[in-house]
Symmetry: C2
Subunit: 233 residues, 2 copies
């Protein structure tokens, strides 16, 4: 089957095109991703790329789903590799490290959405899987639902929930979209949600350069936020 070589070469070319597209993304944003420019950078003419992607939109979609998958895998791996007591911190740091390493990809999925562009349903599934990973990491931290390793975590004692945090927990009780399999309690879901938004808050502002010129080290802030999450549940 010499056709296998062709197939391999095809895949290779697609990957190269996507790599170039990411470079363009970094340099001039989503709008700067251009089929013709990618082709030129690869040493071929524009129309040639249509052998590999049906349209610019398809390329963009693939860029996004690839990124989602990459990040989801990275988080899952970090959680899997860490001892239960370290899972939460490992997950949080893996998220930040990934984002700092490839800020443009982070913003591709968690930045300003491209108006009129609709992400494929596939991404919703991956996002749900990521939520599941965060829930796992949260449950390992100890507290109400974290029976798994309770006692094993030697961290600071957990604080009781605020009234409104309890209300959030009740509110989330019936939400089941992003958690396949056995359903965790509302409190755990609330913790996962807070984790997500807080980490995103620090990471996104950092990655967007909003901290530049302020004269402090964002990683210190990030570590403090991890600490607060561990303590506050």
């Amino acid at each position: 089957m010499a056709t296998a070589r062709r197939e391999r070469y095809r895949k290779q070319t697609r990957e190269e095109a996507k790599a170039v597209a990411l470079a363009q993304l970094a340099e001039s944003g989503t709008a700067g991703i251009s089929v013709n420019a990618i082709a030129k950078a690869m040493g071929m003419t524009g129309p040639a790329l249509y052998r590999y992607f049906a349209s610019r939109d398809e390329l963009l979609t693939e860029l996004i789903t690839d990124t989602y998958r990459d990040l989801a895998e990275t988080l899952a791996q970090a959680v899997a590799d860490a001892a239960p007591a370290d899972r939460f911190r490992a997950m949080a740091r893996a998220l930040r490290d990934w984002a700092k390493r490839q800020p443009d990809r982070y913003l591709l999925i968690y930045g300003t959405p491209v108006p009129g562009y609709h992400a494929p349903p596939e991404t919703a599934e991956i996002a749900a899987g990521m939520m599941r990973t965060i829930v796992d990491a949260c449950s390992a931290v100890g507290g109400a639902d974290g029976a798994t390793v309770r006692g094993a975590t030697a961290g600071p004692e957990q604080q009781p929930l605020t009234e409104l945090e309890a209300e959030l927990a009740r509110h989330l009780e019936g939400v089941r979209s992003w958690v396949p399999g056995e359903e965790p309690g509302g409190e755990l879901k609330g913790r996962a949600l807070r984790t997500w938004t807080r980490l995103h808050g620090v990471i996104s502002l950092d990655v967007q350069g909003q901290f530049t010129g302020m004269g402090f080290d964002p990683s210190v802030l990030f570590e403090a936020e991890i600490d607060a999450l561990v303590r506050g549940g």
Copy 2:
């Protein structure tokens, strides 16, 4: 001075152009803002707009600084209008309400930065002013530096700082960029910073539509986060 009428008309036209630009921003993003299209929507030809703006970039810059100023004023006003004990919540809610009312403007200043575009130094000053407003709101909440109204806040008792939160406070001690006038302590600055990133975390994900399909009400999450901030300092 009949020239005053001309001047007034000029200002009016500029404002109309910016309004149309904001509509385009909402519909097709930053890249969709087009001088020619704006002019057409206003019933004139493209080049005519060059009587009012030196370039597309100048228009964009003005859009951004206007937005910064508007938000900064809104926050300051909310803080000024509220009783000391309510200041923190009032500020937080004003931020979210503003963002929900005009999501595109929020993302214009706190979303993915336009690559290659450099905001004018003026925005940094306004941002510093906003930081000052947040510091004010935080100091009214009670706690170490909040001598102003300590005792007046009937909320839940403040928690002591985590070890890493204390480290953040020490780290911020020397930072003086975003706080003109008398220098608040590192602990207060840490609280303000946390406030900013946490509120932004919820608001930005909400405004970007990342919560859609998850089946919960973002405002419940937001209120819970306010509560956690009040409690945790």
